[in-house]
Symmetry: C2
Subunit: 224 residues, 2 copies
DNA sequence: CGAATCGTTGAGCGAGGTCAAGAAAAGTGG
DNA sequence: CCACTTTTCTTGACCTCGCTCAACGATTCG
């Protein structure tokens, strides 16, 4: 595991691009992210990169390490990260609160990954980015980190591209479309969503022909 | 849940296209697939479909139901399926063998889904299909259902398309390329892999320029 | 204030999608 | 075993969404 700068007994900090865990590590602790963002990713031999999970404040990184797993994909800090180290041995025994939290987080991971698979497999660039921004807002909101219809969004367009399976250039162009459609306001690592429902509707894809008439958005008409 | 034809006390059968679980169900039992294949999928409003998990003989469907989860995406049989119902209450209590198996299966699901995300986000059609066929062979082999370099492969090209995020037409064309390259032999629901290593190499993507010289496949040279 | 990193724009291209139609299997019922 | 239907596979022509390459602003940060 990467060397870390100790802040207190079990609180650790990472700088951007620093690894929280490397492939094949056998981690002896789980991190609870207190501040900052991190991601799990995979790198193909020719440099193509795909992010397979985002870790926001309040997330466990990663629950499955509790059951003695090796790290299958590396974790890296996207911003400065402050986290609490949770020693794995402290939960080898049965049902504690933490044990339950980790189980719940693990199942949530399965659900979220299934959604990402749908997004990457079947959604357009516009829908994928809308989906990502919507998911980020919702997760921040759940942790009380959204204010009004706004929250922090420290991901660069390059990282957004690596999450959505697109090119930085195309992410840029698509974001401009979304901005000019009034779907999002995104600048200086801050996200505003004028109409949450409209964004969700774009992220979900067009309504079926039958009920398109009644539920069509005034901002983003369903496409073709 | 869909009505099922009871075969014995806890063994059930499903015909192709029959649902093992519907969205929002609160399942009271987990299935252990004994025979046949099933999948989890999501359907967008306009008909686009994405498969988010495959269930092969020996798989649990789905582990997370054991911890009182609702079904977030429906499960449908792809072939005739025979499965064993495992009552959820029988494992609400602590560490049994089954309990451990489910935990392990759940973590394996996270890893496999992360791989699918990489495939869908960053791999070409050729690489995705190679990856899928390789994964299927490996999983069948683990269960002793591979014979030589062959195993059953009941997925239609349409289903392969819904797994890989492609079009049935393009799956067809890509399979022809793979066949003519000698990478796979796939006919009448039966898969043969002449050179497992070559297939894995295609699935993994090109080697980095540095070591391409030494490890290049004689069958499928790394592209560009 | 200089150096990275990040964002923006343009021109051209290509992998994969769409539409349509026909051939080959695989079920189904008599 | 054989007509019949349905599903699956295959092929061709054409199109588009998103990628590539390249250059130039705009931020951020030391």
């Amino acid at each position: 595991m990467a060397s870390v700068a100790s802040v207190s007994d079990d609180s650790v900090c990472f700088r951007p691009h620093q690894y929280l865990a490397r492939e094949h590590d056998r981690p002896n602790a789980i991190f609870r992210i207190e501040e900052g963002w991190a991601c799990r990713f995979h790198l193909l031999n020719d440099g193509r990169r795909q992010v397979t999970a985002l870790f926001l404040p309040g997330d466990y990184c990663e629950p499955q390490w509790g059951w003695g797993r090796r790290v299958s994909q590396p974790i890296v800090a996207l911003t400065r990260v402050r986290a609490v180290r949770i020693d794995c041995v402290s939960l080898t025994s049965r049902p504690s609160d933490l044990y339950n939290d980790l189980r719940i987080a693990l199942v949530a991971t399965v659900d979220r990954q299934a959604e990402w698979i749908v997004s990457l497999g079947r959604k357009s660039a516009l829908e994928r980015i809308a989906q990502l921004l919507y998911e980020i807002y919702e997760r921040m909101d759940e942790r009380g980190l959204a204010f009004g219809q706004q929250c922090a969004m420290p991901l660069t367009q390059s990282v957004i591209a690596d999450v959505t399976g697109l090119t930085p250039v195309h992410v840029n162009r698509t974001l401009q479309v979304m901005r000019s459609a009034g779907l999002v306001r995104l600048q200086s690592r801050w996200l505003r969503i004028p109409d949450l429902d409209a964004l969700r509707r774009v992220a979900t894809g067009p309504m079926s022909a039958l009920n398109a008439e009644r539920t069509r958005s005034p901002i983003m008409p369903v496409q073709s």
